[in-house]
Amino acid sequence: MADKIKFAFLLAGGCAGCEMAMVDMSEKLLSALDHLEIVFWAPTVADVKYKDLEAMEDGSIDLAFIDGMIRSSEHEHITRILRAKSKILVAFGACAALGGIPGMANQHTKKEIFNQSYFDTFSTDNPDKVVPQTTTRVDGKYELTLPEFYENVLRIQDVAEVDYFVGGCPPHHDFIAKAVEAIIAGNLPPKGSWLTSGKAVCDVCKRNPANKDMARTQVFESKRIVDGEPDPDICLLQQGYLCLGPITQGDCGASCLNVNMPCRGCGGPIPGVKDYGARAISAIGSILGSEEAAVQLMEKFPDLTKLVYRYSLPSSLLASKEK
């Protein structure tokens, strides 16, 4: 057996859910650890500091995962460091690969976000109107610093070259296991690829009419999940619940569909798609049965953008607003 693979795991701007998913591999993680030597996984698993990472030699890490997105100068800094140290860098999970849920903040300016966070909410008590500064002098002598909060949420690939992408919020543990096994076996696609089956959720969804030898029909009325409990055996889209399964990579095994919830797109677009949201409205717009149905949809979903870009707004072709 060859040497153990030197492995690093970095949390950038996320919630650490992806790391929890990794742990959810359970026994499979244990057997994987036979092949992995964890050199950095702060702070969840290993007590290694940024400076320890900075001290490593460039290219000394074989494989690095990053979860979470870039929201601050700290995220960018450490991502760039890890990139330099790693032979293979994987953007792991929806935030890292697409911008994720936090990416929806790109519909708002930094100023709006600060106002909301530090002034406007009912529970905020901030009479001096204090907002975070990158540097603060305390007692006239101590200079304290904070990372800079960026105008926009960025993906990992916006600040560093990414070799592979994994979707999911979080990635499904069965799928992580497959990916890790493939990496260990050295069975990797060309760089820049997604580690994925390349198939949509529908391919693995037991509700897909095609999987039941039934014909798909057009949709005349859109529904939200609050509008009632969907029939658990029939395709949600057919029932009018805007499921994004057809547009989303299905390495999750249609987990949400299995619990009667529509897909919201965390798996990311099928490879080759340039813009997740645009592709989603093209597909959904196509199966609507009438002009009225399109109008009704927009009334039903007044914030359509946050529906179709729930996990991928920073990946949109029009990632930032026209100023």
Partner: protein, 671 residues
Amino acid sequence: MAKVGVYVCHCGSNIAGVVDVAAVREYAETLPDVVVSREYLFMCSDPGQELIRKDIKDGLVDRVVVAACTPRTHEPIFRKALESAGLNKYFFEMANIRDQDSWVHGDDHAGATRKAKQLVASAVAKAANLEALEDTYVDVTQAAMVVGGGVAGIFAALDLANMGHKVYLVEKEPSIGGVMAQLDKTFPTNDCSACILTPIMVEVGTHPNIEMLTYAEVEDVDGYIGNFKVKVRKKQTYVDWTKCTGCGACAEACPAKVPDSFNCGMNDRGAAYIHFPQAVPKKAVVDMKHCLNCAGHKIGQEPRISKKTGEPMLAPCEKACAADAINRSLPWNPEGELIEIEVGTVVLATGYRVMEKEHFKEYAPDSPNVLTALQMERLISATGPTGGKLLRPSDGKKPKVLDFISCVGSRDIRHHTYCSRVCCMYMIKQARLLMEKYPDLEIYMHFIDVRTPGKDFDEYYTHAAEMGIHFIKGKPGGIEMLPDDRLRVLGYDSAMGENIEVDADLVILATAIELPEDAQKLAQKFSMTMDGSGFFKELHPKLKPVDTPIEGVFLAGCCQGPKDIPDTVAQAKAAAASAAIPLAQKRVKIEPILSEVYPEKCSGCGICVPLCPYNAISLKPYADRPRAVIDMTQCKGCGVCASACPSGAIILHGYTDDQIYSQIAALTQSA
């Protein structure tokens, strides 16, 4: 790496007079993938094409961009040039720098030149991403369909049949003949319409290659050139046509009163009727909408038994029919019969209607003495409501003063902006026929302009003036109703520059020719495009006058635009000849600009399946999973499925994502 050759056309001065052609050529040289860039006076000329062929043969270029007029007319020409030089003809792309540039930006030479450069860059970018495609061929069903049994349909059907092809002639009325059968005499020779048309109708009726489907309408069309599947509904006649001899006894016996459409509503016919005396086929129908169910004998029921006689009580039509063709006890299906016919080509000859007078409020439409010209035609016809006698509808008296008004609904933005083309001539014809028969009549005719451009037409008109018919240049703006049922036409005489009035017994309105509503519905079934005037649009106004955007479907007669009988017959014969070409070739080419599924990318979501307007997409197992597949013979290449596919598994050859993105990139490069 693609080797793109760019060829910029001067089109004489059409392009070069506005666009700096040399600058465009030089700019093209700087574009990626471009290996050679040339300009020439007329690229479509043989020496122009030779420039391209030589560069291909010399191995210099393997993709060709021509910047010239428009691909809509010239793409096929240049593709042929590529083919003859041994290059796949789909390695061709055109930049439209004439129709969409020099011709519309004549006052902005700099802007036109800048746009030409961008259009060339866009074409080059697409060209570099083009793929080789191959034409395929399918066999042609050896039969043709002609829709519409007027004079246009009659001649199209006869010519096709005489060439040896099986022809289905579909006509919505019980008889063929169309509007021409309603006409009295025809200009400019004044020969009797029925006399010249009837023998030809009989020829159609007896032709071994022609199957007439009268009282029938096209319900649905599927398929493509060479293999159309047309569903035709034969409406229920309630008369057994295999037995009916056309004697007309049922029509005479029928007590119902229905406005006779053949006589433009000027008299009544029965619910049981024969379309007109010279009908072909001469068969009766029962118009069930107006049937009175005499003797309580409803369709499909046994007759009641008379208490007096003990005999069954039959309706008069049943009793009158000696041939036993009318049997109301039978369970006639009101839906008639739906039959599916397979044909290789189709000629549409659905004809026209004239506008009703009700639209023209200023012309006293409520007066019975205001007639449309077609009503006038029936009024002077020997088979018309008065047996050919000129009588005033309000009181049956002989009129003394007649007044014709032209351009009623034509050349009028409230109705139709076009000239109906035949009105001037038929008004003059009617006036002449009337003058010849009743020399004491006073006849006035109001024109905006008298239009007589046909052979012998102007002589016909000037002779009418010599006969004493009064021609007045100026359109009347109104009619007043006088107490004695006469009509005061309020006119203006442009020649004198004076207001004039005519107190007329009869006013005849030359109402516009227009496409009937049912023809518009038919147009949708055949995916016809309509022109600005509301008629079926030919593929090219000059060079493809009987072709349509749907390959294998051709046009004849007034459904394509107003025209007279000689022009209609000429066009019908042209349409027949064109429709015969695929039949003679026995196979037709299918262009490869079609959609295709990459099954290994397909996720089987099935979203594409209900989108296809041609039902070309289905899900079939591929490596044990349901995957979409497109039937190439059904696909028309619209690309709606490719745009919808969430997996990007469908591509439309000739318009792939890569190709279009490269064009977007080129057009958003600052030029």
